[in-house]
C-alpha cells in the first residue's frame, strides 16, 4: 500500500519512516513524501493510481491542505477515490468542518498518535 504524506516540515519524513519501519520492512506500506500541496499534485499526476492513502497537513504555506483536498476530490474522482486524511496542529471545529466538507475521509490532530493511525490503516487495509 502506497501512502503519500504531505507536510511542509521535512522532519515528518524520518518520523514516519521510523514509526512504520516494521511495516516498511515487511513491504506492507510504502511511503512517499511531498513538502507542499503543489508538490503533492505534481506527484499525483503520475502516480495517483498507485496511491491508496494521502495524509496531508492542513497548515502549509502556499496551497493549504484543504485546497489540496478539494483539488484531489475534483481531479481524481474516478473510483476508487484515494482515501485522504487531514492532519492539523489545531484540532478545532472549523478545520474539522472544512476538511469533512471537502471530502476528507478522516481527521487527525498533531501530535500524531501513531498507534491510532496504525489502527486506522489496518481497518483501511482490511
Amino acid at each position: 500500500m502506497k501512502i503519500l504524506v504531505v507536510d511542509d516540515e521535512a522532519d515528518v519524513q524520518p518520523l514516519f519512516l521510523q514509526c512504520f519501519r516494521k511495516e516498511i520492512r515487511e513491504h506492507e506500506i510504502e511511503f512517499d513524501f511531498a513538502l507542499s500541496g503543489e508538490e503533492a499534485l505534481v506527484y499525483l499526476k503520475e502516480k495517483h493510481s498507485e496511491v491508496v492513502l494521502i495524509l496531508s497537513d492542513i497548515n502549509m504555506p502556499g496551497m493549504s491542505g484543504i485546497d489540496l483536498l478539494s483539488r484531489i476530490r475534483h481531479d481524481y474522482n474516478v473510483p476508487p477515490p484515494p482515501v485522504v486524511m487531514m492532519i492539523t496542529a489545531y484540532g478545532d471545529e472549523e478545520n474539522h468542518r472544512q476538511a469533512i466538507e471537502n471530502g476528507a475521509n478522516d481527521f487527525l490532530t498533531k501530535p500524531l498518535d501513531f498507534n491510532l493511525l496504525k489502527e486506522k490503516l489496518k481497518t483501511l487495509l482490511a
Partner: protein, 705 residues
C-alpha cells in the same frame, strides 16, 4: 464837443454837417446854436510867419481859405512843417448882443492866439523844427472874452504843426474853436462832470469785477468763464479809465494813447465776454471766436486809417448782437441761470434804445443810460457767475455737511470697531491662554498616550504573534513527543535484539535512536528559541545591540507572522518564498527591534495579499517573498508581496504615525512609523518603498554592517 463815448455814440446817429456857408467877410454870427458857435468858416491861412499877422488891420484877403476843424490829413494845403498863421474876421449880431463868451479851443498843434491884436493864449512850444514842437492842445482851460455887438473882431492864430504818427483818421482835429454863452458853458461843464462820474463809477465797478472774478478764477481754475469775464472786466476798466484820462491829458502826444485804447479795449472786452458766455453755456464758439478776432482786426485798421465812430459802433453792435444771440440760444437750451444774463442784456438794450431811435434826452439821463448800458450785461454775467459760485459753494457746503456727518459716523464706527476689536482681542488673548494651557495639558496627555500606544502596539503585535508562537512551538513539541515515542519503542526493540544477540541489527537501531534524539534536541532548541524570541519581543525596555544573524531572524519572524495570521483566519493562505544569501556577516542590531520591523513588514505583506485575494479572481496566487542579500557595507532585507499595492497618493503618508488603511480597530497605525524610527533613527539604516498600486509592494530595509 468833448470826445467821450457818449458823444461819439451820438455822433453815429446825428449827422453833423459842416455847412459851408458862403458868407461875406467878416463872418457874422447872430444866433447861439445849442452847442455854441463853432468857428469853422471864414478862416484864412498863411504858411509864412510874420508878427504883423496878429494885427487886426492886416489884410489877409490874399490868403487861402481853410476849415481848421478838419483833421490835419484832410488839410493838404498846410504842407511843410514851418510855423504858419490862421486868421478869422467875425462879428456878432444884435441878437446876441454885447456879452462875454466862453472861448474853448482844442487843437493838435502848438499855438499862440491873438484876439484883436492882443495875445489871448499860448499853448505848447512853437518851432520851425517839427521835432521841437510840443503840441499842448487838449483839455485846455476855457477863457472868457467880451465881444461887442456889431464890432469886427479878428482872431489870429500862430501855429506850429505837429504831424504825429502816420495816422489817417478823423479823430484828431487840427484846430477846433467854439464860443458859447456862460450858461451853455455851465451846462456843458456839469455834463462833463457827470460824465466823468459815470466813467469813474464804471472804472471802479469794472475794476472790482476784475478783481472779483480773477479771485473766483484763482480759487477755481476749472471755471474758465471767470477768467474770460475777468479779462473782459480788465479790458473795460482800462477802456473806461482811458475815457477819464481823455478829460485830463493836454499833450496831444499822450492824449492819443488814452484816446485810441478807450475804443480798442472796450471793443476787445466784447470778445472776452463772448468767450465767457460760450464757456458758461458750454457752447462751441471756436470758429465764432476766430471770426470775432478778424472783425476786431478790421475795426482796428479802420479806426486807425479811417475813422473811429462808425467802425467802432458797428463792431460794438455786432458783438452785442452775438452776445444777445448766444444768450437767447442758452435760454432756449434752458441753461441754468441764462435768464440772469439775458436780463442783463435786455436792460442794456433798453438803455441804449433811446439813442438808437434818436429820442432827445437830457444830459443826466444820457449818463445814467450809459452807465446802465455798460453795467447791466456785466452785472448780469457777474451775478450769474457769482450765483454759480454760490450754488456750487452751497452744494459744497451741503456735501461738506454730508461728509462731516459721514466722517463722524465713520469715526464712531471706527471707534466702535476698535472697541470691539479691543474686546475681542482681550477675549482672544484669554482664550489663547486657556487654549495654550489646555494644549500643554493635551501635549502631556498625548506624550503619555504615545508611550502607552507604543507599548500597546508592541502588545498588539505580540497578540498577533500568540497564535503563531503557539503553532511554532507546537510543531517542534510534536516532533519531540513523536520522536520520543518512537525512540521508546525502538529501545524496546534494541533490547530484544541484544537479548537475541543480533549485534548488527542492534547497532542499526541504536543509530536510528541516536538520529531521533538529535531530532528531539533540534526541535527542543527550536521551541526554546521561539520562546526566547517571544520574551525578547515583549520586553518593553530598549534592548542592547548584539551581533545577530539576519537570516535566522527573518525566517523566525516570517513563520511567526504567517502562522499567526493562519491561526486567526483559517482560510488565509499565501505562498512563501525565501531567498537568504548564505554567509551574510552578523550585524550589530537590537534584534527584538529589528524583529518587530520584520514582523510588521511580513504582517503587512500578508494583509496585502489577503486583501487582494478577497477581490481578485480565482487565478490569483498570493505570494510573499523574503530576500536577504549583501549590499555595499550593509545587509539588505527585501520583503515583497503581490498584494493590493500602495496607491501613490498615500505613499508619503504610510510612514506617518497613526496612518492606517486597515479598518478601525484593526491597526494602530504605528507599525510602519515605529519601524521607520527603529531602522532609520535606531540603526542608521533605511527603508525604501517600491509599489505599484494593485500589483505589488516591496519594502527594502537596509541595515549597515
Amino acid at each position: 464837443m468833448k470826445l467821450n463815448l457818449f458823444q461819439l455814440l451820438c455822433a453815429l446817429f446825428i449827422t453833423v454837417s459842416f455847412t459851408a456857408r458862403a458868407q461875406l467877410k467878416p463872418v457874422a454870427y447872430d444866433a447861439m446854436p445849442e452847442d455854441g458857435i463853432t468857428l469853422d468858416t471864414g478862416w484864412r491861412y498863411s504858411l509864412e510867419d510874420k508878427s504883423q499877422f496878429a494885427q487886426p488891420a492886416f489884410n489877409d484877403a490874399s490868403w487861402g481859405s481853410i476849415n481848421p476843424t478838419k483833421p490835419l490829413y484832410n488839410l493838404p494845403q498846410l504842407k511843410g512843417d514851418k510855423i504858419g498863421w490862421l486868421r478869422l474876421r467875425f462879428k456878432t449880431g444884435t441878437k446876441l448882443g454885447s456879452r462875454p463868451y466862453i472861448y474853448s479851443m482844442w487843437h493838435s498843434a502848438a499855438t499862440e492866439v491873438y484876439l484883436d491884436g492882443k495875445l489871448l493864449s499860448k499853448y505848447g512850444k512853437l518851432s520851425n523844427n517839427p521835432a521841437e514842437v510840443v503840441p499842448i492842445g487838449m483839455n485846455l482851460p476855457d477863457q472868457e472874452i467880451y465881444l461887442t455887438q456889431g464890432d469886427e473882431h479878428v482872431l489870429a492864430i500862430r501855429f506850429a504843426l505837429w504831424r504825429g504818427p502816420v495816422v489817417r483818421s478823423n479823430w484828431i482835429n487840427f484846430c477846433f474853436i467854439t464860443l458859447s454863452s456862460t450858461n451853455q458853458f455851465l451846462e456843458v461843464s456839469k455834463a462833463i462832470h457827470k460824465g466823468n462820474h459815470v466813467y469813474i463809477v464804471l472804472t471802479s465797478v469794472f475794476f472790482l469785477l476784475s478783481l472779483l472774478h480773477l479771485a473766483f478764477y484763482r480759487y477755481d481754475p476749472t471755471q474758465r468763464a471767470n477768467l474770460f469775464f475777468a479779462v473782459y472786466a480788465i479790458s473795460s476798466t482800462v477802456g473806461f479809465f482811458c475815457v477819464i484820462m481823455q478829460e485830463e491829458v493836454q499833450d496831444v502826444r499822450i492824449w492819443m494813447f488814452v484816446y485810441l485804447p478807450a475804443f480798442l479795449t472796450t471793443l476787445m472786452g466784447g470778445i472776452w465776454i463772448i468767450k465767457a458766455l460760450g464757456n458758461l453755456f458750454s457752447l462751441r464758439i471756436k470758429w465764432l471766436e476766430i471770426v470775432l478776432w478778424c472783425i476786431y482786426a478790421i475795426v482796428l485798421v479802420l479806426i486807425i486809417f479811417w475813422q473811429v465812430d462808425t467802425p467802432f459802433f458797428i463792431g460794438l453792435i455786432i458783438f452785442g448782437l452775438i452776445e444777445i444771440g448766444l444768450t437767447i440760444k442758452a435760454l432756449r437750451m434752458k441753461k441754468r441761470g441764462a435768464g440772469i444774463v439775458a436780463f442783463g442784456f435786455a436792460v442794456s438794450v433798453t438803455a441804449v434804445a433811446p439813442f438808437l431811435v434818436g429820442i432827445t434826452i437830457g444830459n443826466l439821463t444820457h449818463q445814467i443810460l450809459i452807465l446802465i448800458e455798460f453795467l447791466a450785461p456785466a452785472l448780469g454775467i457777474s451775478l450769474y457767475l457769482a450765483r454759480e459760485f454760490a450754488l456750487d459753494s452751497s452744494l459744497l457746503r451741503e456735501k461738506l455737511v454730508q461728509v462731516e456727518t459721514l466722517s463722524e459716523q465713520n469715526l464712531a464706527q471706527e471707534q466702535e470697531k476698535q472697541q470691539l476689536l479691543a474686546r475681542q482681542n482681550d477675549s482672544l488673548e484669554s482664550q489663547v491662554a486657556e487654549r495654550t494651557t489646555a494644549l500643554q495639558k493635551s501635549l502631556i496627555d498625548l506624550r503619555s498616550a504615545q508611550t502607552q500606544l507604543i507599548q500597546s502596539e508592541k502588545m498588539a503585535s505580540l497578540g498577533e504573534l500568540t497564535a503563531g508562537i503557539a503553532h511554532e512551538i507546537q510543531n517542534p513539541l510534536n516532533f519531540v513527543n513523536n520522536f520520543s515515542d518512537v525512540n521508546r519503542e525502538m529501545i524496546d526493540e534494541l533490547k530484544e535484539e541484544l537479548k537475541a544477540g543480533n549485534i548488527d541489527e542492534a547497532l542499526v537501531i541504536a543509530n536510528d535512536i541516536q538520529q531521533n534524539e538529535e531530532k528531539i534536541i533540534q526541535h527542543g532548541k527550536r521551541a526554546d528559541n521561539i520562546v526566547k524570541g517571544m520574551l525578547q519581543h515583549s520586553r518593553s525596555n530598549t534592548g542592547e545591540r548584539q551581533l545577530s544573524n539576519i537570516n535566522t531572524l527573518a525566517d523566525e519572524f516570517l513563520k511567526l507572522s504567517y502562522h499567526g495570521l493562519r491561526a486567526k483566519d483559517k482560510t488565509f493562505n499565501a505562498g512563501l518564498s525565501t531567498s537568504f544569501e548564505e554567509g551574510l556577516p552578523p550585524i550589530n542590531i537590537v534584534s527584538q527591534d529589528i524583529g518587530r520591523v520584520l514582523l510588521n513588514l511580513f504582517n503587512n505583506a500578508f494583509y496585502a495579499v489577503n486583501q487582494k485575494k478577497k477581490v481578485a479572481n480565482a487565478d490569483y496566487k498570493p505570494e510573499v517573498s523574503v530576500t536577504t542579500s549583501r549590499g555595499d557595507g550593509c545587509v539588505v532585507v527585501t520583503v515583497r508581496d503581490n498584494g493590493i499595492g500602495i496607491p501613490n497618493e498615500i505613499k508619503d503618508k504610510i510612514m506617518q504615525p497613526f496612518f492606517t488603511t486597515k479598518p478601525s480597530g484593526e491597526g494602530t497605525g504605528l507599525g510602519l512609523s515605529l519601524s521607520y524610527d527603529i531602522v532609520v533613527k535606531g540603526h542608521g539604516g533605511n527603508i525604501e518603498i517600491l509599489s505599484q498600486n494593485g500589483v505589488y509592494t516591496q519594502f527594502v530595509v537596509t541595515l549597515p554592517i
